[in-house]
């Protein structure tokens, strides 16, 4: 007994080190395999509050260019509206609405790590939930990962866990959008079969398979493509429309039918097992 106590006293700093190391490693490895930790994220009120304060000060510096961006976006939307064949009043029937859109601002952005997360200043108060899609005026940005009352963290497309359904515009050939962690302007599209005719410059948009994003949201253009190791699928480098280093205003998309779709899929899978 005495020897055990002596041992503990002698190696107390080492044991303390091992204790802290195990705590941090367990948190790290746990979130390597699956989602970001519920606990370790920047959407809680302390970190969110500090980022919000800093945003309140710095947001004035690029107000002019942000306004210009919003005007450009309005211009584009008006052009679509005036050139469409329907009358100038659009009927909005609440039973017909598929997607609702919430606006927000980025208060923290990162693109240098392997797993990048963005923090926005909208949270559960504004009815934001996990797994909603986040886009900008130019293209997709990511998926909501964690929420607190006033803030939410977004898993950026520049994240090695990110996996989004995407397709080549005007076709129905779909694949998965991933990131090989190399360059913040380039993501990869995989699982497009070899027989699909593609050329450099083709536009990539979100696919219809996802219950998170609506179909046909722009992502980027094909920069370079190659066959992968199996020689039957393409490995496509896509350059993003979004400048990931400079994002302020974002839109969060809510699909009210998502739960129904997920439930149905779940039931189908569990029925299959009998």
């Amino acid at each position: 007994m005495r020897q055990i106590i002596n041992f503990l006293i002698r190696y107390k700093t080492f044991l303390l080190y091992i204790f802290f190391m195990i705590i941090s490693l367990s948190f790290t490895i746990q979130s390597h395999s699956f989602h970001q930790s519920k606990f370790f994220n920047s959407s809680n009120w302390v970190t969110g509050g500090i980022f919000q304060t800093s945003y309140n000060i710095t947001s004035y510096f690029d107000l002019k260019s942000e306004n210009q961006k919003l005007v450009n976006d309005n211009k584009r939307l008006r052009q679509i509206l005036y050139n469409s064949k329907i009358k100038d009043t659009v009927l909005i029937d609440s039973s017909n609405i598929n997607y609702t859109v919430i606006s927000g601002q980025v208060i923290k952005n990162n693109y240098a790590d392997q797993r990048n997360y963005i923090t926005i200043n909208k949270g559960e108060k504004d009815s934001i939930k996990q797994d909603m899609g986040v886009i900008t005026d130019k293209g997709i940005l990511g998926i909501i990962e964690n929420t607190s009352n006033n803030y939410a963290s977004v898993q950026s497309v520049l994240n090695e866990h990110s996996n989004i359904n995407a397709k080549i515009k005007n076709t129905d050939h779909f694949g998965s959008l991933i990131w090989n962690t190399e360059h913040y302007n380039t993501v990869q599209l995989i699982d497009i079969p070899r027989l699909v005719p593609i050329t450099i410059g083709d536009t990539i948009v979100t696919g219809a398979m996802s219950s998170i994003f609506p179909e046909n949201i722009p992502i980027g253009t094909i920069k370079k493509f190659d066959l992968d190791d199996s020689k039957s699928f393409y490995y496509i480098n896509v350059s993003l429309f979004n400048d990931m280093t400079n994002i302020k205003n974002v839109y969060i998309i809510n699909n009210p039918n998502r739960e129904e779709i997920l439930k149905l899929e779940q039931e189908t899978i569990s029925n299959d097992q009998y």
């Binding site: 700093t13 303390l16 802290f20 790290t28």
Partner: protein, 169 residues
């Protein structure tokens, strides 16, 4: 033991966390270089203090940075490692001088100070990027990032340590 030292450390802790998350985490020099200047806390921390408290404080510091930068607990793991290894590194760098009662960081030579800081940074960054990238096949990437970001951190830390020099004689 609650004296000016205690308050200076608390002030340093808060300021370094804020400077790290609000300024240096947004630097993105060349697209990927974000220097980690909060290591200066471990460089400046008094030498003859309770080791257990020091390790605990370092863990807390790393954890604070982790909360802000969404990096799970990687910063905490790396910071605790250098906090534990600090006496070993100091023995290696300063040798016998460490035994003297009047030993102070400000009294050592510039080369010794830089070596001490550089070793802290290399160990920290190596642990950090090993855990972040988490695969042996990318060893080259780990070394590349350790070197490039380590160099940036070293330069900035040296600038800061001369700017806020503790030496008053």
């Amino acid at each position: 033991m609650i004296n000016t030292n205690f308050f200076i450390n608390i002030l340093r802790f808060t300021l370094l966390v804020l400077v790290q998350v609000l300024v240096f985490n947004r630097l993105h020099f060349f697209g990927f270089i974000n220097p980690m200047v909060y290591i200066l806390f471990l460089y400046w921390y008094p030498i003859k203090e309770n080791r257990a408290a020091f390790i605990g404080l370092s863990f807390l510091l790393g954890l604070c940075i982790d909360f802000f930068s969404d990096t799970m607990a990687i910063n905490a793991a790396a910071t605790v490692t250098i906090a534990y290894l600090r006496p070993v590194i100091m023995n290696f760098v300063f040798g016998v001088n460490l035994e003297f009662q009047s030993f102070k960081l400000g009294n050592t030579t510039k080369v010794q100070q830089i070596t001490f800081l550089a070793l802290l940074i290399v160990v920290h960054h190596f642990v950090f990027f090993t855990l972040e990238i988490f695969s042996i096949t990318n060893l080259l990437l780990i070394l590349k990032k350790t070197l490039a970001i380590g160099l940036a951190t070293l330069i900035l830390c040296l600038l800061f340590s001369t700017l806020f020099s503790v030496k008053k004689e």
